[in-house]
């Protein structure tokens, strides 16, 4: 990703035909899309579209769609942390809000059955609204206060859902939410998703493609550049005329909306929602994904998400088995009394912590860094302390 400023394109004459106008309307993101070296991405997209036909194992597709949900969460948090440089430690709260919005409005709980497709979009707005409610007063504060406010919010939301058992089913949550379906219109017979992972896979794939196009476009827009300016130097950004509070609020709300979106999707797929699914570890997992991959870089974020997803859903699950079989095959007497399986099973917190600390100390820009972010982080570290370090860097 180069950060060279593109010369502004000469204004094109207004097209008279409706199709031409439509093309002009979308020309911004289309140009962005074209400018990227698109061939490998298009090949990748085609492979992903064909994936359920190549691999008919439903278990694999289920894994793929779940990984897609994590990528969506990571892309949203990347807007907040990676672009705007705001540490949001309560990201799971918005995920919970999206989940419960769907579970309460599309289940037997209140006997409301709003269609999935409407709620998918609506819950994104609901989550964004909560983002604004939380962010509007707190984004004026310094960055590290925001971290603790979001952490507090992340603790409050699941507790509220757990305690308001009258509306949310309490500890047991809400079971048996509506499953999405395609309506039968214009002769199309209609289609029920049920427990088949394939349609979910296509939903999440579509959402991801649209999201990525949107984010790429956002990053290069006036707003995206404003985010990065604030991240680098808030005082300087404000003095160039950026309204820092509004700009930060937009990042916060947009990140929240991705989380709400993912929440609705997750609940519909899982068929139920419980307050236990939204603990602090979820927020931290998403944070690790973007920190590992490279804050501010979309490819990095996706790769980071996939690595961490692989780690938690495969390596950590298999590790106890591997270690016990290794233990048995090596057959060292002093190892026989050690329960390596349990040891591996319990190491998730430690592994997460080590990844976070090691990345920040050794490679703060992440595995696949955004060029801009890399310069900031490296310069920041090498710079000798001359000026006031307590500035809003």
């Amino acid at each position: 990703m180069t950060t060279k400023a593109q010369p502004p394109p000469p204004p094109r004459p207004r097209s008279r035909s409706p199709i031409g106008r439509l093309r002009q309307l979308g020309s911004g993101w289309l140009r962005t899309f074209m400018r990227a070296k698109r061939a490998p991405y298009i090949v990748l997209l085609i492979i992903l579209i064909l994936f359920p036909f190549i691999d008919t194992n439903q278990g694999h597709i289920d894994v793929a769609q779940d990984a897609g949900r994590w990528i969506l969460l990571a892309l949203g948090l990347n807007i907040v942390v990676g672009y705007a440089g705001l540490l949001d430690l309560g990201y799971a709260a918005f995920f919970a809000i999206g989940s419960y919005a769907y579970a309460m409005l599309a289940s037997g709980q209140f006997n409301l059955h709003v269609p999935f497709w409407i709620l998918l979009v609506a819950s994104a707005f609901v989550a964004a609204l909560f983002g604004v409610i939380l962010g509007a007063p707190t984004l004026r504060l310094r960055g590290d206060y925001l971290a603790i406010v979001t952490l507090g919010f992340g603790e409050i939301v699941p507790r509220v859902f757990r305690n308001s058992s009258k509306y949310t089913g309490g500890v047991n949550g809400i079971v048996g939410v509506d499953q999405p379906s395609l309506p039968h219109v214009l002769g199309f017979p209609g289609y029920k998703f049920l427990f088949n992972p394939v349609p979910y896979y296509y939903v999440i794939l579509t959402v991801l493609v649209v999201s990525i196009l949107l984010i790429v476009n956002l990053r290069n827009s006036r707003l995206g550049r404003a985010w990065m300016a604030i991240r680098e130097d808030e005082v300087a950004a404000a003095s160039t005329g950026i309204n820092t509070v509004t700009t930060k609020l937009l990042a916060f709300a947009m990140g929240a909306s991705f989380s709400g979106f993912a929440g609705t999707y997750y609940t519909a797929k899982l068929f139920l929602v419980t307050p236990e699914s939204f603990s602090f570890i979820v927020s931290v997992t998403v944070l690790i994904m973007i920190v590992l991959g490279g804050m501010g870089n979309i490819v990095g974020v996706i790769v980071g998400s996939l690595i961490i997803y692989f780690l938690i859903s495969y390596v950590l699950v298999q590790l106890p088995g591997w270690l016990t079989s290794l233990q048995a095959s090596v057959n060292l007497p002093f190892l026989n009394n050690v329960d390596l399986g349990a040891f591996a099973q319990n190491s998730k917190y430690l592994i997460f912590g080590i990844i976070l600390v090691a990345i920040m100390l050794l490679r703060p820009q992440g595995l696949i860094p955004s060029a801009q972010r890399k310069v900031e982080l490296e310069l920041g570290i090498q710079e000798e302390a001359v000026a006031d370090l307590r500035g809003s860097a």
């Binding site: 007063p137 504060l141 590290d144 603790i148 952490l151 507090g152 603790e155 409050i156 912590g353 976070l356």
Partner: protein
């Protein structure tokens, strides 16, 4: 009346623990403006160090005459060890990032918190672990009510530690250097203060106080678990913010007030048990929004 006094002493006792943790947050924040997310887990480790020392020395079977010097020794050793842990964490995780963008040490602090919790989880497992109470368990009758001896000792002990800290910061040369560093690090350096040493001392004191809080928590609640520090840490941070972050007296006051709020919500309301945490965390957000300097804070956030 009896019920009121019980609640009051419960509130002050758990408030003492929160205050001891909050002091660590406030000291570190005052001096390097970092929210040390790992501090809650440093508190848990302090509690576990104390537990292991008690088992090591077999202190449960000591005679009462021997127990008083024994307890002083227990607190001293645990606080020293935990203080060294705090210094180590600062040296390994925070010092290399002191000049990095703000986000970096914050994320590292979250990571450190997980490392400490992970280590405890590996060693101690997920269950609650019993903790002996070596303080006398009787109670003193006041006529209209009675106060537990444990509670009384805890409150007095905490007060002694707090006054000691306050005197240390106000009266000694190191304390003066700490205040100078908090005010303006570069000017302090130009005056010949060894900044790294002062920051290390600050972490040592904060972690040592957390260790004292950890032992007290163990004695009072008689069980601890690996993830104790997350909730306690967040509540204690609320206390620090409530009192005015960066302000030592404020953190102590904030700790006691939060402890009392929790105790009275628990005892006097039907919703208290379920909603107390929500109330505390809401206080955190509301204080930050409406009065970010806290009750006594003088330090005005830059933005």
């Amino acid at each position: 009346m009896r019920f009121f006094v019980d609640t009051l002493s419960l509130g002050l006792t758990q408030g003492a623990v929160f205050a001891l943790i909050a002091l660590g947050y406030t000291l570190v924040y005052g001096i390097i403006e970092l929210i040390n997310f790992a501090h809650g887990d440093v508190f848990t480790i302090g509690a576990f160090i104390g537990l292991n020392l008690i088992a090591l020395f077999g202190m449960q079977t000591w005679s009462p005459a021997l127990l008083i010097p024994g307890l002083i020794l227990l607190f001293a050793i645990t606080m020293a060890l935990n203080g060294l842990l705090g210094v180590l964490i600062e040296r390994v995780a925070y010092r290399p990032l002191r000049n990095a963008p703000r986000l970096a040490p914050l994320i590292t602090a979250v990571g450190m918190s997980f490392v400490l919790e992970g280590v405890l989880f590996l060693i101690k497992g997920p269950n609650q672990i019993a903790y002996p109470n070596l303080f006398p368990g009787g109670s003193i009758s006041l006529g209209f009510a009675s106060v537990g001896e444990t509670n009384l000792i805890i409150i007095v002990l905490t007060a002694i530690l707090m006054i000691g800290l306050q005197q240390f910061i106000q009266r000694t040369n190191v304390g003066r250097a700490m205040r100078a560093t908090a005010q303006d690090r570069d000017a302090a350096r130009l005056m010949g203060i060894n900044i790294n040493r002062i920051i290390a001392i600050t972490f040592f004191i904060g972690s040592a106080l957390a260790a004292a809080g950890g032992i007290i928590y163990g004695f009072y609640n008689e069980s601890i678990s690996f993830d104790l520090g997350f909730r306690s840490g967040l509540i204690a941070f609320t206390a620090a913010v409530f009192g005015g972050i960066g302000n030592v007296v404020g953190a102590s006051l904030g700790g006691f007030i939060i402890g009392l709020i929790l105790a009275f919500a628990d005892s006097y309301t039907t919703w208290g048990l379920q909603w107390a945490d929500v109330v505390v965390f809401s206080i955190l957000i509301l204080v930050l929004v409406f009065r970010p300097t806290g009750l006594l804070g003088m330090r005005v956030p830059e933005k």
